[in-house]
């Protein structure tokens, strides 16, 4: 398994564990640095510390059909 596949696996696991949260993950340690109900909430928690080594994500709301 290469690094990218490991990253996707960790993101998917985190989405499953926290299905309602937006999260910021450290791309090296795969640790969740902040989580909250929305992108704005995690941005606030990180107080501008999003960096070249973080990834923001959130599981799509399963109650609503996603039709982007």
């Amino acid at each position: 398994m290469n690094y990218y596949e490991k990253l996707v696996k960790k993101v998917n696991q985190s989405m499953k564990k926290h299905p309602r949260s937006a999260m910021v993950m450290d791309m090296s340690s795969f640790q969740i640095l902040a989580k909250g109900p929305s992108l704005a909430a995690v941005n606030k928690k990180m107080s501008g510390k999003l960096s070249e080594n973080t990834l923001v994500f959130q599981k799509p709301n399963q109650k609503a059909a996603w039709i982007l």
């Binding site: 290469n2 990218y4 080594n53 923001v56 959130q58």
Partner: protein, 145 residues
């Protein structure tokens, strides 16, 4: 060159590298490969994350310039560059860029409510081919550049 990505969250979403045109700082961000989108774009809330300010007087605002399931929406135009990561060569703290889009500006859409950007046909048209291969884990994305 062929790039194969597992889709994030079982969707055709990949992690890409985005460089802010103002600060030259780089970020990772998830983006949905959206063949129904004419333009590559981001939710307006992402601007702050990239170091942009939608409220700055110099920012170009396009009124009702974007249309989607939300109706019409304003968008804020910011400078940035989007690059595809090489999924085989990228390592921890060492992103390897496989391809960089010629796009230098993108709209940040007020009413777009999601935590990822959209890669639209303006970018995908630059690739030789791309495809989605469903599997039991979700979807595999194949891009030929």
């Amino acid at each position: 060159m062929e790039l194969i990505y597992p889709g994030i969250g079982g969707q055709p979403i990949i992690a890409v590298a985005v460089k802010c045109g103002l600060t030259n700082k780089g970020y990772y961000v998830n983006m949905l490969l959206d063949t129904g989108a004419e333009q590559t774009c981001f939710p307006a809330a992402f601007a702050k994350e990239f170091g942009h300010d939608n409220a700055h007087p110099a920012v170009e605002i396009h009124k009702n310039s974007v249309q989607g399931i939300f109706g019409f929406s304003d968008s804020y135009i910011h400078s940035l560059q989007i690059s595809l990561l090489d999924p085989n060569k990228t390592r921890e703290r060492k992103p390897v860029i496989a391809w960089t889009s010629p796009l230098t500006r993108a709209p940040f859409v007020e009413k777009l409510d999601c935590v990822h950007g959209l890669i639209g046909m303006d970018v995908m048209r630059c690739w030789k081919s791309f495809g989605f291969e469903p599997n039991k884990h979700g979807v595999k994305i194949r891009i030929v550049i």
